[in-house]
Subunit: 397 residues, 3 copies
């Protein structure tokens, strides 16, 4: 049986019905079967493309992207996913738009969505803001659809919020599944999600939170390591604990990077800002206290600087399972002597893992496409089978 | 007979031949049959899309948008219209472009149009400038087409100029037609196009001018109301007068909002700047007199502030026909206590009409698409029939 | 035999195999047959489009553009070429992107290319930088393709670098071929590539270099004329010399515009900055010496001003072959009394040649599309024949 047939067979066993006409905010808002369904569809879409078979399900339609922060990879991953399915991307640049002119979110959401099948939003700057904003956009277009204002209900895809980064973490996870030869081989594997030093400050918490919120679902032993004071959101830690209990894995915390790396099968060393500090920062921005913001930045940079020893060194890598743990990063990484003097990882380690790191990133467009696909197609197995049967050539050669 | 067949039947009775290979600048440059034709095609395209039938008439091609002012709704309406017909949008951002480098309009117009089927322009900032600019762009590409430089003649669509806002006002009008169950039910209906207070200054006149220039064509009694000193362009008032005479309706003016609202079937309370002031502002910008501009702004804001009583209140709404006039706005509105302290409309009124307001806006992409369609297709009835016959699925489900 | 059949017949005689899965950096990196192949495919694609036959070879896919300088014509030419072939353009705006955040070129190149079939780059600002940058991007994606990170190998197209401007110069050349009724009529024709005065400073050398590097391949007598001190890159002059020798033409230099124009069949009067000065400027930028940069600008403008007599006048045009040489320019030109007081050309000359100049520019989208087509299609003749056979309508009428 071809790989494609096997994927469809597995997908057929999963209940993904609740993903249809639904949005994707947080991985822990989805069932294990739904998460598995996204992975299966991502693999199926990739298999089709690798066989030069078009996966266009849209003859026309718009995919709207809204980025409240600079972005290369996520922007292009979203554009690639939309293009793969046949949607044209339109950026809602709030500079150009009238949102600045006091327009309400509800109104704008509807005004841009008359022919939108998807809305992708990245809003990770302020704690307690991004997720809420996405929710209000999704509610607005759902209401517009109910009221007959919109002919279709646009799917909202969270391209990174203050709480979770589902497209990144699911790409990371699918990469792991492929590297380990299947989800069935993950039980008991040790994952070290650890903080690492960065000369820059205020990096979002959505990656470590997304990782512990997702990777604890597969029966693995997930360790969250960071210096004291770099705690993540307690609610997400609670999610991780419950996931671990349900999946037969564990979720533990430590303030020692070495302890986390010891015997690890997978390591994810990455910098982030303390949750408490991000909360404070959000309040300071709310009141426009720029002096306070600068003071906080200075304080945080000094705090970071006290932990320069939190670096993914060759030495530390040697302590992992057979010295060959899978090194993960969402990129770009702060590489010692390359993008900074001292940072998250030694150049030697990064270089050795470059190709796997790029492959890790290559799953993101397919994860996003799969989220859209499952929200738009009521019968995904039949649809995928029909796309193969249709056999439309993606690129004439 | 299906709705679609009825629309085609009506469209078949209209002479729209002069729209073919032509541009769309001002509604009053078009005949009643041509205006009716745009409405019919807009309804037909919407009917096709609601039945998930693709309206793509382009396999490839570009739709170029040029916005000289911030814009959300118009930008996305144009993008939606282009996408519906199969054109990819390319923004001509004059920041990025070399127009700044002293390039002539004629040259740029041709350089961007080698594969352009449509050019949409919004240029509403300066009195006497926008319309003229669009004309010169249209003349340039028409010449380029004649000289064999361009393989196709791009259609120019006015997305708002200093004189008219045809895509907005025709969307407003099509909304009215649907709300009143057909154009045949509009004779004798009273429309109140009235000024309203806004804390912001210098809002374009193109909406009130477009409204009186269009809505006087349907045998309605159109009242233009504003405080003294907020006159619109006299030429457009003259157009309205002639339209009213021809259509068997009336066009009257008043300086009383109450008088305009009394017994009205439709109300359109919206702020705009005095024509004379906009002329003065244009001159000040021309000579770069920033002190003069600031003085003028201050003066205009003070002038506005003397008319805060010009607000669409619940009380005023009660005085309309059965207290249930159709409330219109091009959005975004200045809503009391929402987007401003005191503004154009009370929150209660706005909330009650939110869904109709969004539906009003939802016609704009179809109006733009219809303008393009009629400029590109010599036999619109046959083409629409063929699109239905072809029955290409817009979104696979 | 139809024009199209003739083009295919000629294309069939050319060895263009090395263009397949390859990039386009410099015209002198390609054989005469490869250059002829690009011209043939450009003509074939234009012929298809003029017959309203779609040339889409991509059902979906991205064309990525990266402009490090303002651009209208090249930006739209690239967008048009991509659209013609079925690719959706995504701009990599380094403002928006994280390249600014110290991300390496190699990483970014792969991150944006997961579904990219083409990458077009314009980077002409700094001597010794642009070409090198493009090479590193091409190497990065080629490696990513080899390593299985990318499913396809994106084609890199040089949209202007510090050394050459192949899409411009090949469009200029194809225009010449058409104006003179075929490449076989070019032997012995005199081409004057001459410097001209401009009030602006620091114009790139890539056009004059590209012209002498390409036009010397056709047995013509190419004269490079400029005031002392405005030398171009010696390596490129050497390329021109060798080309002339091989093609049976000549390449000569002079410091007299009159001498260059005398009896010329083709004139290309255009301003550029001295190579040595551009090298110095690059160094000053490298060390961020803004005072030095300003001093250099001042010095260069003064140097330019000493050569205001280098202008394409009616008088000079009279001295060309029968007074009717073909006037070329990449546009926009500095036109006396139009875009500047004194500049590269008299308004009378420019006006007389406007339509030919626009036609010259109209070849660029097809040249770019041909470069992409030949890099993507292993059997271009068969593919073009199949596109004609398929006969898909580009625009329904």
């Amino acid at each position: 049986m071809s790989q494609f047939q096997e994927i469809l067979k597995e997908l057929g066993t999963l209940d993904v019905s609740r993903l249809y006409k639904n949005d994707f905010f947080l991985t822990w808002g989805k069932t294990d079967q739904e998460i598995a369904g996204v992975f299966a569809v991502a693999d199926a879409l990739r298999d089709l493309r690798e066989r030069n078979i078009s996966a266009r399900i849209f003859d026309s339609g718009l995919g709207i992207s809204l980025f409240r922060d600079n972005s290369t990879r996520t922007r292009f991953s979203f554009a690639s996913a939309c293009n793969l399915l046949g949607l044209e991307v339109q950026d809602l640049d709030e500079g150009k738009s009238q949102i600045a002119h006091g327009e309400t979110v509800r109104e704008t959401a509807n005004m841009i969505s008359f022919m939108a099948d998807v809305i992708g939003i990245r809003d990770d700057m302020y704690i307690g803001k991004g997720h809420t904003y996405m929710q209000s956009v999704a509610d607005a277009v759902a209401e517009g659809y109910r009221d007959g204002v919109l002919e279709q209900r646009p799917t909202l895809v969270n391209l990174q919020c203050d709480i979770d980064h589902p497209t990144q973490c699911m790409a990371d996870m699918l990469h792991i599944i492929h590297e380990f030869g299947g989800v069935e081989n993950l039980k008991g594997k040790k994952v070290a999600m650890t903080w690492a030093y960065s000369p820059s400050y205020g990096k979002p918490l959505s990656v470590p939170q997304g990782v512990i919120g997702l990777m604890t679902r597969f029966g693995m032993d997930v360790v969250l390591a960071h210096p004291e004071g770099y705690e993540v959101m307690p609610e997400v830690e609670e999610v991780a604990r419950q996931n671990a209990r349900r999946s037969g894995g564990t979720f533990t915390k430590t303030n020692s990077m070495a302890e986390a790396f010891a015997g690890a099968d997978i390591v994810y060393p990455k910098s982030w800002a303390p949750f408490a500090a991000m909360e404070k920062r959000t309040e300071l921005y709310a009141v426009g206290d720029s002096a306070g913001i600068q003071a906080l930045e200075k304080e945080l940079l000094e705090q970071n600087a006290r932990h320069k020893d939190w670096c993914c060194t060759e030495e530390l890598m040697k302590t992992t399972r057979e010295g060959r743990a899978l090194y993960l990063h969402c990129l770009p990484a702060d590489i010692n002597g390359v993008s900074c003097v001292e940072g998250e990882v030694e150049a030697g380690v990064f270089d050795r893992y470059r190709t796997p790191l790029y492959r890790e990133a290559s799953f993101k467009p397919y994860i996003i496409a799969a989220m859209i696909f499952l929200a738009q197609c009521e019968k995904p197995v039949e649809m995928l089978r029909e796309l193969e049967r249709r056999g439309r050539v993606r690129r004439k050669k």
